[in-house]
Structure formats: C-alpha cells, structure tokens
Amino acid sequence: MNNFGVIEIASTTTKSTPGWAYVPDTAPALPAAVHSTSRKRAARNQPALTLSDLSAREETRIRKELEALDRDNPKDVNIPIPPRPGGGSRAQNKHTPNVRKILQSQKSFANHLDDYQAMLALAESNPAAAAALNAAQAKPSTPTTAVSKSASPAPTPASAGGASKRSAAAAKRAAAKEKQEQERKKAQHTPKPETESEKLGSTPPQQAPQRQQQEGDNDVEMSDATASTAQPPPTAPAAQISYPRVSAILPAYAKPPPAAHPGDADPLLVSRVPAFPSDDELRALMTAPPLSYLEARGAWGEEERRYPVRVFCAVCGYWGRVKCMKCGTRVCALDCLEAHREECVTRYGL
C-alpha cells in the first residue's frame, strides 16, 4: 500500500498534559485492570453487566430493604418516658456531670459507630492528635483498641477469609496433610526431636496417667508416644503421653482410655488427631485483645463471592426463574409475572 513514505511507529509513551490526547492502546482491553483516574471513565469502561452483577438501582434497593429489615419499628416513633405512678422521688436526684451527659445523649448506635470509626481514622492519620483527643476526652479503652488496630496479630475477618463448602475441602486437605505427616512419622518411628521438644515447651513432660495401652497398638497416639520417648522418658513403656499433650492450660485427659478394639491397628480405621497447639499459642489466643465491632463482623470471603446468590420469586417465594423485562425483578412463572406486572406498571408506567 502506498503510504506516501510515512511510517507509523507505535509509541508507548503517554503525556500527561491537561486537555486530552490520543493514547496508544497496545494491550488487549482488560477493563478490570484499568485504573483510570476518573471515576466516570472507570464506570464507562466496565464490561457489560453479567447475570450476577447488580445494577446500581438494584443495589440501592437492596440496601434500603436491608435497612428496613434492621429497624425496630416500621416508622420513626417517639415514645416519651411516662411519669411515675407514685411520683418520682429518684428523678430529683442530683446527677454527676458524666451521668447527665449520658442521660441527655440522644445518639443512636449508628452515631456511636460513626464516632468510633472517625476516631480510628484519626488515630491512623494523626496519632498525636488522637492521643491528645483521648487525653482530653479521657476515653478509657482506646489504648486497647489502638493495640488491636495496630499491633495485634489478630487477622481481620476479611483476611480470615471465607470458609465455605469449597474451603472445607481445603480444611480437609490440611487435615489430610497432617495425617500424612503423622503417617510418615509412624513409618519412620524416628521422632523429630527439635519440633517435639519445642511443642512440649519448657514444661517437663508430666507423668501421664497409667493407661493400659495394648502393645502393638500403633495408632496415632502411639506415634506421639514414640515421639515423647525422645524426651527424658518417665517410665518407659507403661507411661503413655496423653492427648492433649502436657499443657498447663488445658489439662490432659486423665481417665483410662476406652477399651482396645481389634480394628485399632487397621490403617483404614485409625483416627488421627492433629497436633495440639503449644501453651504459648494458647496463651496468645486467650490474652488477645478484643476485635473492634467492625472487625468481628462476618464478611464474605473469596469463595462466597465467586458463586451467584440464590434468587427468589418476588411474589410467591419460589425460585426466581424469570426476569421482568421492565424492572429486572425475578418471578417464578406466568401467574406471578402477571401479578408483578400490575405493580410494575403502577410504579414505572407502561
């Protein structure tokens, strides 16, 4: 083709000048990855709505409905405190300034929650100011909340992730791994001294209760027992380490074990017990500071987000198999669609 000697070179540089410019589009369009500075453009670049995506209107509707479900009364009511039947004597009591402030406060829980979030935000952006504010207000437990916000090892629910049916599979895999580990131990019959001694910690292995364990019964507890013999053995074969292991926090099971069963040695029937956490781990868990109100809220993990939610007929409550073409409401079949149309027409017109 005759291009009059002009050779087009694909440029990859972009200039950030005011106004607008053509920018070479060298990559395949990945709308999700486009981090546009303009929110409008980001919204426009979204891919076409899929079935699981909700339009803004639907989202607003759902949010409003949830708020309505969370209310104590359908309408705002103002019920004043009625006068006492016998004439209030306590009412004339003098209140301390704190009490007066609390009694007169008309804040709702949402207000308090907003205050708390604002305080946290301030503490993050400007610790000094927050500390001064705390000192001024003498808000008491902010030290603990500050700890839980910054230094606590406690994972937030979001990072804790979702554990659903799918992640149960992950849990099972983890357990299976544990199982393999123990089987390997059993096969080797060689304890791992460093990990075991670490787990046992500084507490000396306590004299485990006398348990009439059958010789040759090689279930998992046996593998623990062999592991423990690496320690200064209490009394060699008769003593049996118990489950959970020596722990000052959760004492060992002190009763005789259930009677032996011929199937105990069967590798298919053996029950395997995951390693018990060390005392240090337990101590850290038990003394961890409380999470904040928002952190404790159960949140969707990756797993829950991946699958579409169930939809129901807005009229009768059966599965929502059909969508109204006008407003997108789900209904189950023609009868319900007609019932819905009447409402839809009055709301949105023909």
């Binding site: 007169q104 406690a154 159960g298």
Partner: protein, 447 residues
C-alpha cells in the same frame, strides 16, 4: 494489677448479694444470687417502652398488663445488643429494681452487679455503662463480662447428655466450648477455652430475631395483609410457625403453586407444611392461633367466614424461608456468610488442634435456638464442611433464653468473680479507663 489485688485484700468484704443481669435487646433476664444461693430462674422483663394504639405507654414488665398488641410501637434502649439509650434504660431499671415498690428490690450500695454484654462492643458505650453503674446507681461492686463466656460456667456436658457416672466432677468453667448466641439483634460465634473467650475468633452475623420478624412482616405484607405496623403479632407468628428446613429445595418445591393452570398435589394438600394462622381480632382474641391447613380451601373457609369474621392466613414457604436467613443471609442480599460458614471462619483463625474439641462442644443459646430443627440443620451443614474425623455435636440447653443468665449466676458464685469484679472505691481511685482496661483484659491465663 497486683496493686489492685492488694487493695482488695484490705478492702471491705465483697457484698453478699449479687444482681445478675442479662440485659438483652428484647428482654432483661434478672435475678439474685444471695450468699452462694441463686434464684432458680431469672425474671424475664421486656426491655422496652411500648405504646399501644390508644397511646398508653407500658414500661418494662408493665407490658404483661397489656392485652391488645395491635399496632404496638416499641422504644428499645438496647440497639444491636448494646445499651445505647440510658435515659430509657435507667427508667426501666429504676422501675424494676430500685424504686420503693419495685418487683425485684435491690439496694445497689450493698450489692454487686454482674452484667452480661455482647462481645466486641464500642469503647464509648462500655464507658457509659461503667459510669452509669457506679456514678448513678452506685453499685458496691461490678463486673461486666461478655455474655457468651458466662455460658461456660454451666454444666455443659449435662446439656449434651454426655454419658457419665454421677460422681464425675463437673468442670466449671468448661474446658472448651464453641458458643453460638443467636439473639434479637444478631448471632455471634464465640470459642471459649476455660471460660476465656478467644477474641480473635469471635464472629458476628447481623441476622437476629428482629431481622427475621421484619422479613416475615415484609413477606406477609406483599402476599396477604399489610402487617407493617404489627411487629408484635408478626413476632408471635414467627415463634409459633417458623421452622428451619432440613431440605430447603424439597420444601420449596412442595409449597410451589405451579405454573398456570397446574394443580400440584402437594400444593393442594399442603404437604404437611402449610398451616393456617388465625390472626387476633383485637376484640375477643388477642393472640393468634395456629391451625392445621384446611385443604377444603376458600369454599369451606368462606362458609365458616360467614359465621365468624376471623382473618386466616395460610402460611406456606414463609414458614421456613424466614429462618433460612440464618443459614443463607445472601437470600435477601446481605453479603455475609451463613451460620455454618461463619463457624468455619471463626475456626480458620484457630490452630487446627483445637478444632476437634470445639466442634464436639457446640452450644446454641438465645431465643432463635428455639426454632424447630435449628441445631439439626447446623450440625448437618457443619458436617459437610469439617474434616471427616471431627465429631460434631450441637446442643441447645433446655431453655436457651435464660442459659446465659444461669451461667452468669454460676459465675457469680465462682471464685473468678472475686478476681474480676471492680469495687466502687477502685473506680473512684483509678477511673473509668482503668476499669474498662481491666474488664477487657479478662481473666488472663493462669488458672
């Protein structure tokens, strides 16, 4: 902290009377522990100011005198499980405990208060609570602890009916339990070791009794009558007819009326699911009545209706769709995991070695535990999610509503209370901040 212990040793002896309060959003559970002896059961007081359609206001237990609950409006001092409006709460407490002719008269200056609160409270609200208790009511001694952990002071293995010999000592507090508290405002999952809650693993689902009642109200308003102002009646209906489905798909199929012109056998006969609910008429009857579904349908009802003017609702999938929200909150668009997934989220931050113990000791308390099949469904869903080797036992105490109170009453007699409670002198000396830190630190680890 050692300093405080020393001061307690020299201080006055602890008061012999303890007022144990489980101050719920819907009802207060209140009772006394005197000299090591607790009341058999707490008094259950509605925690609200209620106004009926004649604009008469009822405070707390006065609600018993109310007969007609139509168009009842409520003002609740507790929001989301936390005491927010102290003006109303003080009025209710005054009338129930501190007035001269109060039904449960108590002299705060010679009593200890053990108050159960929800986990993960806001610090500002906790401070308000401490300040009110000491500065306004003037209790001599006080402990504010999270409600779920009080349950550990009950005889947990009796709830599970664990076989054991009568001379077996009862572990108090229980070594390890996973407590699910499903109340009016929300549902919480709390793993507890030796009476100490494992704070990093506490999770909350914002679906509670109120949420479900409002959902039932909405469904009925769309399908039958406008019930939006009849929260109380809808709540009674929910308690009477709702159940947790063990086979949601199957039950939903049975209650479907079918496509146009279709006569589905299950729908016509009701399939054992449909129930008739007779609404109160506010003249002769004031509480609804559940009846078996009358497949005769409109014709026979029409004949009856000619004689009596009762309003009958036929409830079909409303019966199990409403409690289903606990297990699938996304059905109404709430982006939170269901209860079984929430338990798994809670477990996922704990070492796997604790799972067997926790899963084998799941206790469900709170009013929603009364829903039929609740624990069966939870057990079923958990079994799908946990490793095969884990034993899953889910149990619900005989009366799940007062379980936290009973635990707190046991706690008030346990030696732990002496280690945890704060006296008025200590409050005056060290201030509210110190008290809040002390309560949030809890028992510590050493037994």
């Amino acid at each position: 902290m050692p300093a405080s212990r020393k001061s307690r040793a020299t201080g006055p002896p602890p008061p012999s009377t303890t007022l144990v309060l489980d101050n719920g959003a819907d009802t207060i559970k209140a009772g006394f522990v005197t000299g090591g002896k607790a009341d058999d059961a707490p008094r259950i007081i509605p925690n609200c100011l209620a106004r009926d359609r004649h604009r008469k206001t009822y405070v707390g237990s006065e609600l018993e005198k109310c007969r007609d609950f139509g168009e009842m409006a409520f003002r609740r001092p507790v929001e989301k499980g936390f005491i927010v409006n102290w003006e109303a709460q003080k009025e209710i407490w005054d009338r129930e405990f501190f007035d001269e002719n109060a039904p449960q008269k108590c002299d705060p200056s010679e009593a200890r208060l053990v108050l159960a609160e929800q986990p993960n409270g806001l610090p500002a609200l906790q401070t308000h609570c401490d300040q009110m208790v000491f500065e306004e009511f003037g209790f001599a001694s006080y402990y504010r602890g999270i409600g779920p952990s009080f349950n550990a002071y009950r005889d947990i293995q009796a709830i599970f009916h664990t076989p054991r010999t009568p001379d077996t000592p009862v572990d108090v507090p229980a070594e390890v339990i996973l407590l699910i508290d499903s109340g009016y405002s929300h549902t919480t999952v709390t793993p507890i070791l030796q009476g100490r809650p494992l704070h990093p693993a506490i999770r909350r689902l914002d679906v509670g009794g109120k949420f479900m009642t409002n959902y039932l109200t909405r469904l009925l308003s769309v399908r039958h009558f406008d019930m939006r102002n009849e929260t109380f009646i809808a709540n009674e209906m929910k308690e009477a007819v709702c159940y947790v489905s063990l086979d949601f798909k199957g039950d939903l199929e049975k209650t479907w009326k079918g496509t146009r012109g279709e006569r589905r056998e299950d729908f016509v006969s009701g399939a054992g699911i449909a129930k008739d609910y007779v609404l109160p008429d506010s003249h002769t009857t004031f509480h609804g009545v559940v009846r078996d579904y009358d497949p005769g349908g409109a014709s026979s009802r029409g004949r009856k209706a000619a004689v009596s003017t009762e309003d009958v609702l036929t409830l079909r999938n409303e019966r199990f769709v409403v409690p289903e929200l606990l297990f699938n909150p996304s059905d109404v668009g709430l982006s939170q995991p269901g209860l079984a997934d929430l338990v798994m989220q809670s477990l996922s931050v704990l070492p796997i070695g604790l799972w067997p113990g926790l899963l084998a000791n799941i206790v469900v308390v709170g009013g929603n535990a009364r829903l039929e099949n609740f624990i069966q469904r939870l057990q079923m869903e958990l079994l799908e999610r946990v490793p095969d080797e884990c034993v899953v036992r889910v149990a619900c105490p005989e009366n799940p509503v007062i379980s936290t109170w009973l635990g707190a009453a046991n706690f008030a007699r346990h030696e732990h209370v002496e280690r945890l409670a704060v006296t008025k002198q200590e409050y005056e000396e060290y201030g509210a901040g110190w008290v809040a830190r002390r309560f949030s630190a809890g028992l510590g680890v050493d037994t």
